[in-house]
């Protein structure tokens, strides 16, 4: 890197910050006394989480029947929510891993944040496969545990693949996140004044010193993890999509599902990151770090993935027609015109139409609009999963078995409750952990580069930013 001519990008950190100011900007959030507002929101979140606990308790007490499921439609909101949350849970690892491999330095501003969201989203997702089964008390049978029955799980089952995929994804994301946290926890340890924080952060940072011998292994490890997480993140939603694609139900039995699900996952994940980021950066005035450039870049990803999803929808129809399978054709026509058309068209509007606004640079950089779209997108993605899961089951091969699915209040409450869980965790994260990867941010600041220092005086001279024209050609 040192040899080739340095092409200055627009600075990733706005405002004239030095290392210390960055440290303060980020860590003060965790060290300053807790604001009232935080308690307020925490209580709200906890209340919602309580709703989740109650709905689960009642579910275990009464049985799956409290949900709106019926005979053709054996999977309802539980699975929809599972896929939805897992999808959201893709952004974080994707940002930290793939963008890292692509040397997208701008990721450093949001990766910590996004990874946290990922982990919490996956936790919310994990709730559903666990509780949706009829006999929760024997769910451990899906794990290959030796037992007096000599029975083993069935490795042909996509659900079992899911068990491994999701748990692996969760573990690896967690490790990845933690590895990134260690140096910043050390920073907090060293800035903390009260004993409790010192001990807590002290343990968390494992006695990190910032030794460059450590940094050497550390960067290696981080690189390898990124390399591992990249195929992993793609595999997770691929395998989730197998739950449908491997079955033989018209509308499920579709080879396009893996790429289409992954695109959808990135789509919804980025939207969720934006939703949270736009609020967080306002509240904690991190505009210098999470800049509008970030927002714009992410909007471009949303535009691209949104269009990919749209393309996938068209492809489904085309293949259904092209395959000549009457059942496939029937289900897709029914989706658009049948009893669930309302859901289908909501999905189309939110997922395919809404992102198209981001062709305009002005809208891409418009905070309010971005916030709005980011929410619309996630509504749309929920409906996508609804359309896939429910419509296919409700109208499959034998018309005699067709039946309409309508959820009960308990379906809704359980879903609502997971938001409680999510925000409880997320608020705790904002309060106690650095929401920006401090060390990484510092590393991408111009001051961090020895070349930006005068050979003789060792004084820092900021890199010249040329006029953007040649830059346009080079990029």
């Amino acid at each position: 890197m040192s040899t080739q001519p340095y092409v200055p990008a627009p600075p990733l950190v706005k405002g004239d910050h030095d290392f210390a100011s960055i440290t303060r900007l980020v860590t003060d959030v965790n060290l300053r006394p807790t604001p009232k507002a935080w308690y307020l929101f925490m209580i709200l979140a906890n209340a919602l989480a309580g709703v989740l606990l109650i709905s689960i308790g009642y579910l275990i007490w009464e049985g799956t029947g409290i949900w709106g499921l019926n005979n053709p439609v054996g999977w309802g909101w539980a699975i929809i929510n599972f896929v939805w949350w897992v999808g959201i849970g893709h952004a974080g690892t994707l940002i930290s891993a793939i963008l890292f491999l692509f040397r997208q330095d701008w990721r450093t501003a949001i990766n910590r944040f996004a990874e946290a969201m990922t982990i919490f989203a996956v936790m919310c997702a994990g709730v559903f496969p666990a509780i949706h089964v009829g006999r929760i008390w024997v769910i451990y049978w899906v794990f290959p545990v030796p037992n007096q029955m000599y029975m083993w799980p069935n490795f042909n089952s996509p659900l079992l693949w899911d068990v491994f995929a999701v748990s692996t994804y969760f573990t690896v994301s967690l490790l990845f996140w933690y590895v990134g946290l260690v140096p910043d926890l050390a920073t907090l340890r060293d800035r903390a004044t009260d004993k409790i924080r010192q001990i807590a952060y002290g343990i968390g940072s494992l006695g990190w010193t910032g030794s460059n011998r450590h940094w050497w292994n550390y960067e290696k490890a981080y690189m390898i993890l990124a390399g591992l997480a990249t195929p992993l993140v793609l595999s997770v939603h691929t395998i989730v999509s197998f739950d449908f694609a491997v079955s033989m139900i018209p509308g499920w039995h579709t080879t396009i599902f893996p790429p289409y699900f992954v695109a959808g996952a990135i789509f919804s994940g980025f939207a969720m990151v934006l939703t949270l980021m736009i609020v967080a950066r306002k509240v904690y005035n991190m505009k210098d770090i999470m800049t509008d450039d970030h927002m714009e870049k992410m909007n471009i990803v949303i535009l691209v993935t949104g269009s990919m999803v749209g393309f996938a929808y068209m492809m489904e129809f085309f293949i259904a027609w092209y395959s000549g399978v009457e059942y496939e054709q029937a289900i897709f026509i029914l989706r658009a015109t049948g009893p669930y058309a309302w859901a289908y068209w909501t999905m189309m509007t939110c997922n395919v139409l809404s992102p198209q606004f981001f062709w305009s640079k002005k809208l891409r950089r418009n905070v309010g609009f971005t916030f709005f779209i980011s929410i619309v997108v996630n509504i749309g993605m929920w409906f996508e999963r609804f359309v896939i899961t429910v419509t296919s089951l409700a109208n499959d091969y034998l018309p005699s078995s067709w039946d309409y699915y309508s959820p009960t209040i308990w379906d809704a409450l359980t879903y609502l409750g997971t938001f409680g869980l999510f925000f409880t965790l997320f608020l705790a994260f904002l309060r106690f952990l650095p929401m920006i990867a401090i060390a990484e941010i510092k590393a991408v600041m111009p001051q961090a580069d020895p070349h930006n220092y005068n050979e003789e005086t060792n004084e820092y001279h900021p890199p010249k930013v040329e006029v953007p024209k040649p830059q346009l050609e080079t990029v």
């Binding site: 890197m1 040192s2 210390a20 440290t23 290959p144 000599y150 083993w152 799980p153 069935n154 490795f155 042909n156 079992l160 693949w161 491994f164 995929a165 692996t168 690896v172 490790l175 990845f176 933690y178 590895v179 140096p183 050390a186 920073t187 060293d190 800035r191 002290g202 343990i203 494992l206 006695g207 990190w208 010193t209 030794s211 460059n212 450590h214 940094w215 050497w216 292994n217 550390y218 960067e219 290696k220 490890a221 390898i224 993890l225 591992l228 997480a229 195929p231 595999s235 395998i239 401090i438 060390a439 990484e440 510092k442 001051q447 961090a448 580069d449 020895p450 220092y453 060792n458 820092y460």
Partner: protein, 187 residues
């Protein structure tokens, strides 16, 4: 090596080493080169972020982490295959949808996942192992200024049990390198 170094610290000499602070990454690199050239081996440099080119400056050897990860990945891969073969073919073969007991395609996802999982374990825990972490108590922590090492401070420390270590020589060396602040670290 750093692991061995920390172990060396076990035989607690009163004087642990000499710590010098520098103003910025550039100076830190120069200092590191200087110390390295003057033939010290038991020394280390500290910065709030990895400084580019430090590996050359300190002439650090290539990390062994890659091999650890590969080993773990291999264990994960073979482990998965063996597990599924034992359970689905050897121990209790059940006729499921008339599929063959050894159902290769169906085993791909789980094999992949377990390989990745084990590799990740290798990477993370291997890294901590190589760095001799966790190590909650460190002589350097008793130096007040050293807190800056995780904020905006750049330090070099030469340890007392380096064969060439002599307090004065080291202090002079640091002064040449332009250290803003030099101090002895006691354990």
């Amino acid at each position: 090596m750093s692991a061995s170094e920390t172990n060396g610290m076990e035989k607690s000499a009163a004087l642990y080493g000499m710590l010098a602070e520098f103003r910025n990454p550039k100076e830190l690199i120069d200092a590191a080169m200087l110390v390295n050239k003057s033939g010290y081996t038991k020394y280390d440099t500290f910065s709030p972020f990895p400084v580019h080119g430090m590996d050359k400056a300190m002439s650090l050897k290539k990390s062994k982490l890659g091999w650890i990860v590969l080993l773990h990945g291999f264990i994960g891969f073979t482990g998965a295959i063996t597990m599924m073969y034992f359970m689905a073919v050897a121990d209790y073969p059940l006729n499921i949808s008339g599929k063959p007991f050894l159902n290769g395609p169906a085993w791909v996802p789980i094999t992949f996942e377990l390989t990745v999982l084990l590799s990740a374990f290798g990477a993370v825990f291997g890294m901590f192992f190589l760095n001799g972490l966790p190590k909650l108590n460190n002589p350097l922590f008793s130096v007040e200024r050293f807190k800056k090492a995780t904020d905006d401070g750049f330090f070099v420390c030469i340890e007392a049990d380096d064969t060439q270590f002599e307090t004065e020589k080291v202090r002079k060396l640091f002064e040449e390198a332009g250290a803003t602040h030099i101090e002895e670290v006691y354990d």
